[in-house]
């Protein structure tokens, strides 16, 4: 079940990212941020290139989804987390390569790259920024409601056993991100698509309304998603999990609708002839590169896609390196946790559990009893690792409190070591199979009994 849940989250990321790329790839006569004159014959060739790009982007997503499903197979189970993390990074890199190469082909076709280093702003339109937005109070209400799972668990004791701290905190953090995205949409640079002030004003207001409404709908969908997750987890209502795939689909549909509305608006109103501009800007490692531009953060040619870093600046290079060091560190930690297992051994009077980041040793004198059980009560991870094959670290186990758990997920038998320690009153351990667990239990009992004798 855990593996399927992780895979669904990964697929959700894949669907949302692909939908965002596809919908942002065209705005009126701008294709992938490259402008073509409306009456130009090259627009048709550009449309053919766009179609080819879209097919490749979807194909990359389908291949990614199919390959990622291999994580559920038996041979991949031991390193499924690492496999998925690496695959996700490769998918993002592949989409970036497809985007950059399609842009290069469009520029070779004669399109004008919207220059990021020459900016035009209509002061009248800029002064009215924020007036066309959907009211911010809506997203703040959604944010306040995202505290509901935590509040219900805190207020009612009967649900406290199912207090999924991770879910409660994730819901709030996720909702906060969607609230910040709403503000990001409000602050997106207003593009000049008309020389007529009134028309420019209308377009700016409508654009702002479409973008902020899209962000508010996403915030609502996120709220519904997390409440469904909480209901599924707290009430053990497994059918609610079937709802989860609907979330990325709804986000993708919302992105498509917003994009269509923006596209229609620009096609209807835009009357501004594009100026041919020379730009010293190039693209390096998927980022903006212009040594003459002093800015570190530069808006992307397609506004809704956010900002990019100017890799020609020292700060830009530092940020870029930091991001990739962080990604590499995350992959290294996931690799370490999923590839390395835990080992239980005894050395003299000490029981040693050797595990990356969560190793522990207990002296024989601290142990008050060892027993074997096939009935592990519901446990919630508080600080530890939960992979598809094994889980270890600090867990809150119903009826036992905060315990240490070192478990192979597919094995139902557990050795319960009771200790007199307050920080870990119980340690739950098992081995790769039921037989191995029973063998380990016999060894531990013998070691423990030796002390009594």
């Amino acid at each position: 079940m855990y593996g399927i849940f992780v895979l669904l989250i990964i697929w959700a990321c894949c669907v949302i990212m692909t939908a965002a790329l596809l919908t942002a790839s065209r705005r009126g006569s701008r294709i992938l941020g490259i402008s073509f004159a409306k009456d130009s014959g090259k627009l048709k060739e550009a449309q053919a290139l766009l179609k080819s790009y879209r097919i490749k982007a979807v194909a990359a997503a389908v291949i990614f989804a199919a390959v990622s499903a291999l994580a559920l197979t038996k041979p991949a189970k031991g390193f499924a987390d690492l496999f998925l993390a690496v695959l996700l990074v490769l998918f993002i890199a592949a989409q970036n390569v497809l985007w950059v190469s399609a842009r290069k082909k469009l520029q070779a076709l004669g399109g004008e790259a919207e220059s990021e280093n020459r900016v035009e702003v209509d002061l009248t339109v800029s002064a009215e920024k924020g007036k066309g937005s959907v009211p911010a109070v809506i997203v703040w209400v959604f944010f306040a409601l995202s505290f509901a799972p935590a509040a219900v668990s805190a207020a009612f004791e009967e649900y406290r056993s199912a207090l999924y701290i991770a879910i409660s905190v994730s819901a709030v953090l996720c909702q906060l991100i969607f609230t910040l995205i709403y503000y990001q949409m409000r602050r997106l640079p207003a593009r000049l698509v008309s020389d007529d002030i009134e028309t420019a004003r209308i377009i700016a207001r409508r654009t702002e309304k479409i973008q902020t409404a899209g962000a508010a709908v996403n915030a609502f969908l996120s709220l519904v998603f997390w409440i469904a997750v909480y209901i599924a987890a707290a009430f053990h209502y497994s059918a609610a999990f079937l709802f989860f795939p609907a979330f990325p689909v709804a986000i993708a549909v919302n992105a498509v609708v917003s994009s269509q509305l923006l596209n229609k608006l620009e096609t209807e109103y835009s009357d501004r002839a594009k100026e041919a501009r020379s730009s010293g800007a190039t693209v390096k490692f998927g980022c903006y590169y212009n040594p003459d531009d002093p800015r570190v953060f530069v808006p992307k040619a397609i506004e809704s896609m956010g900002w990019t870093i100017n890799l020609a600046t020292k700060t830009g290079k530092t940020i870029f390196a930091t991001i990739w060091i962080f990604v590499a560190a995350v992959i290294a930690v996931v690799a370490c946790l999923s590839l390395m297992g835990f080992e239980v051994k005894t050395e003299g009077d000490t029981l040693i559990i050797d595990a990356p980041f969560y190793g522990e040793s207990v002296s024989r004198g601290d142990i008050t009893g060892i027993e074997l059980t096939e009935d592990l009560p519901p446990a919630v991870r508080t600080n530890g690792y939960g992979g598809s094959e094994k889980s270890y670290g600090h867990f809150s186990v119903e009826g036992y409190g905060d315990c240490l758990l070192y478990a192979y997920n597919d094995v139902d038998e557990f050795i319960v070591i009771s200790t007199g320690r307050k920080d870990a009153p119980c340690i739950f351990i098992n081995d790769e199979s039921a037989d191995e667990t029973e063998k380990l239990y016999a060894e531990l009992c013998e070691w423990y009994e030796n002390d009594k004798n």
């Binding site: 990021e116 702003v121 920024k129 531009d293 002093p294």
Partner: protein, 129 residues
């Protein structure tokens, strides 16, 4: 009024903003009392740090060209005094330009023609900057 900022220019961005708002006011493209964008909005639209726009606004405010009111934004100073200040500022800039033209060996007639052409372009809308 449309302002154009060139990120590759040797002129700092805040100076470009200041100059273009000054020119807009002088040419009547921005009317006295007209509302200007807030620092955050203009910074977001240009794609620069709000400090850059804030510096430009501070300079315009200290020169009496605009009246800034915290988060509400700024307006072009409608008072007659502001027009005087604007004229004073323009005179200073024109003197600086004429001086550097003389040092650069440009003749008086050529300088006069350049100023006349520039005024024609701005006031009669015969071309952009």
């Amino acid at each position: 009024m449309i302002i154009k900022i060139d990120m590759n220019s040797d002129t700092p961005v805040y100076r470009q903003i200041t100059n273009q708002i000054l020119l807009g006011a002088a040419s009547g493209k921005i009317k006295p009392g007209e509302k200007l964008p807030t620092v955050r909005n203009l910074a977001a639209d240009i794609g620069v740090n709000p400090m850059t726009v804030s510096k430009a606004y501070s300079e315009l405010k200290s020169g009496g060209i605009i009246l800034a009111d915290g988060r509400k934004g700024a307006v072009l100073n409608p008072s007659a005094e502001a027009s005087c200040l604007l004229a004073e500022e323009f005179e200073k800039q024109a003197l600086r330009l004429a001086l550097s033209a003389k040092e650069g060996g440009i003749s008086k007639d050529a300088v006069t023609k350049i100023f006349n052409d520039a005024a024609k372009r701005v006031y009669e809308g015969k071309g952009e900057l």
